[in-house]
């Protein structure tokens, strides 16, 4: 490969310097104008980074919160269960039937209050009179078999179950007795029929 001709290089150098000097003076355009775009670019990059970080935080936080909530759900359920057991009223104590004073509850019972109640079951468990209204179970239930007295060994058959009746809602009542039930009754729009 041939080297360049020195006789061409000098004219070219002169010509190029001459051409480069041609034209207007650049003025002060570079000094003040350049930092501003750079600062803008920097500012934009910072804003973009801040937006990205915020988005990451929100998304990450949401994901973490969702996962934590998901993980805590069973724990909350397990905690809630004992809490319910503490708020649930204790099981009613066993009652002794007093043939002289049958307990039929008040004429106007209050919702949520447990009243001593003697449920007549000689026709099975199907109807009840409570709070001046007649109540009926969804289906007829069999009364529990009487057990002998542990002290005397005597089995006493009575057509009445000593327990408690609670008005749950205006149309629902619940009968409870230790070792039996509960039995849910629904209010009737007519008087309960007599045993057939």
């Amino acid at each position: 490969m041939s080297e360049t001709n020195p006789t061409e290089e000098d004219p070219l150098r002169r010509g190029m310097h001459n051409l480069a000097d041609t034209g207007e003076n650049p003025g002060t355009v570079a000094v003040g104008a350049v930092p501003a775009p750079g600062q803008r670019a920097r500012h934009l990059r910072r804003v973009a980074a801040a937006c990205g970080a915020t988005t990451l935080l929100i998304v990450g936080g949401s994901v973490i919160a969702w996962k934590v909530a998901d993980a805590e759900a069973p724990a909350r359920a397990s905690v809630a269960a004992p809490a319910r057991s503490t708020t649930t009223p204790p099981p009613p104590p066993a009652r002794t039937l007093d043939p002289e004073h049958y307990q039929l509850g008040p004429a106007h019972p209050r919702t949520g209050v447990r009243y001593p109640f003697d449920l007549t079951v000689h026709c099975g468990i199907h109807y009840a009179e409570f709070g001046s209204r007649s109540w009926k179970t969804d289906r007829e239930l069999k009364a529990p078999q009487p057990t002998p007295d542990p002290k005397t060994g005597v089995t006493t058959v009575t057509p009445i179950l000593p327990g408690y009746m609670t008005l749950v809602t205006a149309g629902t009542a619940r009968f409870q007795m230790p070792g039996f039930g509960p039995v849910t009754f629904h209010v009737m729009d007519r008087t309960a029929p007599l045993c057939s």
Binding site: M1, S2, E3, T4, N5, T7, E8, E9, D10, P11, L12, R13, R14, G15, M16, H17, N18, L19, A20, D21, T22, G23, E24, P26, T28, V29, A30, V31, G32, A33, V34, P35, G38, Q39, A41, R42
Partner: protein
Amino acid sequence: MEAGQSANDAEFAQFARIAYRSLLRTTRLLTGDPHAAENLAQAALRVYLHWEWASTWESPHACTHKVVVNLYATSRRRRWHTDVPYAAAQDRVKEGDMAHGADDKVELAYALHRLPRSQRTVLVLRFYEDLSVEEAAKLLGCSPGTTVKSRTNRALERLRIADALTGYAEGSTQ
């Protein structure tokens, strides 16, 4: 933090004041158009974005010139690029310094403008920036022998054929 930033800015502003005129001359030769040259020189000052690392550079001036050359090499893909028609360039040359002869400038400007970019770049680096073959090759990221020298020879051959250097050769003998 803010004080350091403003000190950086002041340092860069000083550098830009000094380097801009030199950059503009180089970009004028590369582009052949004063407006494109200013665009290219301004774009090269994007080194400001990395100015905080300028202390690690061998030479900020050389670095900026390298940016100019790289931007020019890829400027066909850039939005601001505008190659002006020869007639417009000719008019601008005539408006300039008339002392050396407008015809000589026009001939050289026209001949340079018709060179491929790679050859024009090599000529500017070697005969205006006065870089050696090795320095030009390093700046362009190419081989000194097979690329820089061959491009230089081809470019000079074209200028010779176009008779673009006659006026300057005669001027040197006067």
